[in-house]
Symmetry: C2
Subunit: 172 residues, 2 copies
């Protein structure tokens, strides 16, 4: 029996591929339709993985959910309460940490998305492209080592009239 979870990265980006203008930038620029999709997906996920910066920005909406927060401020892991585990990905086997779960949603930011990409842990990607350009900002991935990773596009959905679209990819 295969007990590996399905690990799904979920991100909203601009046309020019930015997840935010800067660390600490809230998601006030994403569409309400994307937020609805995101909440539905989180409802179906068993655990959410976020980096510490993203956790701070989204602490309130994430408080009711089961979270693993990546941080260098602990050596291995530190459980804050039933629904909140701080975890240093350099100090633990993340596959073991996530093995109790069937569905894992990775919400970013850059370092966290990149960790899952570089360690071949990603299975799926939901990418919402909002119809605007920042011209600068934070990339979804910042890898020094990643080789080209091929995906397969399974679906495209228009979320609203202005043209936010939701792309659903799986790793080939």
């Amino acid at each position: 029996m295969n007990t590996s979870p399905i690990i799904i990265a979920v991100a909203a980006v601009t046309i020019d591929g930015k997840i935010a203008l800067h660390a600490g930038h809230s998601t006030d620029w994403t569409s309400s339709e994307d937020k609805d999709f995101l909440h539905g997906l989180l409802d179906k996920s068993d655990v959410i993985v976020v980096g510490n910066n993203t956790y701070k920005v989204a602490q309130k909406p994430l408080a009711k959910r089961n979270c693993v927060v990546f941080t260098h401020s602990v050596r291995t892991t530190a459980r804050q309460h039933d629904n909140l585990l701080f975890c240093n990905p350099s100090g633990v086997d993340i596959r073991t940490i996530l093995s109790p779960y069937k569905t894992v949603a990775v919400l970013g930011g850059t370092q966290t998305y990149t960790y899952f990409l570089e360690n071949d842990l990603l299975n799926e990607l939901y990418l919402t492209i909002e119809p605007l350009v920042f011209g600068r900002g934070l990339n979804i991935f910042e890898s020094m080592t990643a080789k080209e990773v091929k995906f397969h596009l399974f679906s495209v959905k228009k979320l609203n009239r202005k043209g936010s679209i939701l792309l659903y990819y799986r790793i080939v």
Copy 2:
């Protein structure tokens, strides 16, 4: 009578928004379907604007087309032959240079796309998203000054089975 040309940026990007791994990287990673689309669009354009790096990478396929090449190696403009004008965008009024044309295709790279974005010269954007991730590389825009620019998505087209998609935006 309005004689301003329609200025269309055309780019192929990875899922993570990269136009290339590095300067000099050829477009061997884009799909044949995207290349077919691009050639059809260039056939319908009156002039192509490219930066000098992009011109060098694509010199052979561009040789038969009418090109304006952005470069700092000339002070204002230098006409090489009927179909090839070198032009320093800091030294000329680019609107005047392009005013004889009805349709202008901007092919990149980063500096050239960014010039048109920052100077409010873009009208449309054709963006092909190829289903792969580089994890690093060159962004379509690198602006220090651009404010958020809003677009409207007019069409989405699947180009092939693996999931290259073509997005067509206009500036709002």
